[in-house]
Symmetry: C2
Subunit: 145 residues, 2 copies
């Protein structure tokens, strides 16, 4: 799993500039943290676009730890995001997908070339307060379909 | 309106790093553009987090051009965002708010200290294709309420 770290933290300049950290990764589960600096807005809290990115990037990390990248690739279709509390510390997120859901999504992509899946996630501050909730919509696609 | 430009384009480091440009601003209307570089993802198209930010930041610009910042301030409550096409050029967005909606939101914030408002927006590529659609939820708050 250590080989996934640079693929996530330095996936592309947008993510690298934010300093996103991969805290933990295993098949089906990933935890990431976004540092408050250099991601503050005009009032010194974490900017909404950084929170969006922290909610979205684990989808790619989870894909890499869980699915066969030689067979499938993921795309993000959309997100509903609600900001519920000012984010004034580093912010973390943990997302997971069950073995049953992995099996369902893989089988559907094998049969149809693509399969939609989604999850809800919560972003929490250093005190454990939820600052942001999202529903993420992804699609797994099979290469060559 | 020219004094608003640095407040928007260099509002905070996250926005400045992306190179967001304020193309046009007047009371009730704003147009902005996000350059493809340095905002690409691992496949060379514009990253979803950059598209989110391009959809969100005009809310602040429109506020500055339309409402009295000495009396009110805006917060972003949430967004529904759908990615409908790969974004492979610079991407632009234009948002507007009618005088009637400005009057409604201001009156409600005067009466209650806060007022919700929202708008839909489309992000378009250099050929005019829609790459992303959003519904943005904001709240206008009256200072001291």
């Amino acid at each position: 799993m250590t080989t996934i770290r640079p693929l996530v933290e330095k996936a592309f300049p947008f993510v690298e500039r934010m300093g996103l950290r991969l805290d933990h990764i295993e098949p089906g589960r990933v935890r990431m943290t976004c540092p408050l600096e250099p991601n503050t807005n005009h009032i010194g809290t974490m900017y909404a676009g950084a929170l969006f990115t922290l909610a979205e990037i684990p989808g790619g990390a989870l894909f890499l730890s869980t699915f066969d990248a030689a067979t499938y690739y993921p795309i993000v279709k959309g997100m509903e995001i609600k900001f519920v509390k000012l984010a004034s510390t580093d912010i973390s997120v943990e997302v997971s997908i069950s073995p049953e859901e992995v099996a369902r999504v893989s089988a559907e992509a094998d049969a149809n070339g693509k399969a939609d899946f989604e999850w809800d996630c919560e972003l929490t501050d250093a005190e454990g307060n939820v600052v942001c909730v999202t529903t993420n919509h992804y699609q797994l696609r099979r290469h060559g379909s």
